[in-house]
Symmetry: C2
Subunit: 199 residues, 2 copies
Amino acid sequence: MGLRELKRERTRRLISDKAFELFTDHGFGRTTVEQIAAAAEVGPSTLYRYYPTKETLVLEFVEDSMFGALNWFREQPAELDLPDGLQSVIELVLDQLERNPDRVRAVYELAGQTPSVSAHLAEVTWRWRNELTVELAGRLAGDSVEFTAALAAGAVMNIIEVVVQTWVDNPDGTEVKDLAHEAMGLLRGGGIPLPTVQP
Amino acid sequence: MGLRELKRERTRRLISDKAFELFTDHGFGRTTVEQIAAAAEVGPSTLYRYYPTKETLVLEFVEDSMFGALNWFREQPAELDLPDGLQSVIELVLDQLERNPDRVRAVYELAGQTPSVSAHLAEVTWRWRNELTVELAGRLAGDSVEFTAALAAGAVMNIIEVVVQTWVDNPDGTEVKDLAHEAMGLLRGGGIPLPTVQP
DNA sequence: AAGAATTTGGTAGTAACTACCATATGACTG
DNA sequence: CAGTCATATGGTAGTTACTACCAAATTCTT
C-alpha cells in the first residue's frame, strides 16, 4: 500500500474521530463543519471530499457494517440455502456492530436527539433493505418474486433493527447473541407472529 | 369555524399545492423555497411557519395518512383483539393513501430522485413504527413485552411499505386491496415466511 | 530529477433555515 | 360601532451546510 492511500485512511479516520468527539461533547446541531475541520487540522474543503454531508460523519460505521454483510451475501453461490444465508447476514451485521459498541450507542444517542440524523439512519436501513430485496429476488423462483423478496428482506431488516434497538436501550440487559437467537428462532419458525396475549 | 382557521387551511393548502406543482415540474432540488413562496403569493417567512422544512412539504399527506390510522388505533378500547386491530390499521392507512393516488406516486417519485426526501420519508415510517410499538406494548402482557411489540409493529410497517411500494411500482398491476389481502393472510397465518423456493 | 497525477486549501457563491420586529388583520368587549 | 387585544404576515439580517472552481503542494512514475 502506497503512502497516498495510507495518508488518506489516516485523515479519514482523524476527521471521523474528531467529529464524534465534538458531537458527543456539544451535540450534533451545535457543532459546525468548520469546527470539525479545524479540530482535524484540515480545510473544510478537504473534509467535504471525504464526507459529503455532516450526517455521513455519524453514520459511516453503521453503514459499513450493514453493507459489508450485504456484500458477503452477494458473493455467495446461487445454491445457498436462503434461510441459512439470511441468518448469516443477520449474524454478520450484529457481529460487525458489536466490534464498536460505544460508537453504535453514540449513533443511536445522536439519532434520538437530532431528527436529521435519525432521518439519514432510517434512509440507510431503507436503502439496505431495498438492495437486499433485489439480491433476494434474483435468487428466487416462482410467482410474485418481488413481493416475496420484499417481505422477506423487510423481516430480516426488522429483526436487526429490533435487536439493535433493544441492545442499545438497555446496556446491561440480555446479550445480543441471545436476542438475535430468539428473534431468529421466530423467523425460522415461520415468521414473526402477531401477539395474542393481552392483559 | 372562524374566518381565521379558514384562511389558515386555505393558505396551507395553497402552499402545498404550488409546491407539488413546482417539484413535479422542475424537480425537488431545482425548486427553491422562495419560488414556492412566490407562487403561493406569501412571504418565505410565512411559508416556514406552516412547513418547517422543505421536506415536510412533500411528506405531509403520507404522514397524515399514517398517523391518522395510528390515532384511531390509540382510541380503541383495551379489549380490542390485536390481530383484528392491526389488520384494521393496515387497511386504514392504505385506504387513506388511496384517496390521493397521484400524490402518493409523486411522493415516491421524488423520494427515488432525492436522497433527502427518501431520508425523511424513511424517518416518518420509522417514527410511526416506534409509536405503534409503544402503543402495542401498553396493550400486551407477559415477558419481553417491548421486544414482542417491536417485532409486531415492524411486521405491520413492513406489510404497509411492501404493499405501497408494489402498488407504486406497477400502476396497472394488482389492486391494492388484493395485495393487502395477500400480505395480511401471511401475517395472520403466523407471520412472514422465509422464502424457500429457489430456481 | 522531471513530469504526471492526485490531494489539498482557499475563495466566492447559493440556498435552507432562524431570530426578531413592525405592520396588518381578524376576534372580542363595552 | 369603536377600541383593544390576539394572532398572522412579511421583511431584514445573519448563520451554516454545501457546491464549483482554481492554484499550490504532495505523492507517484520513469
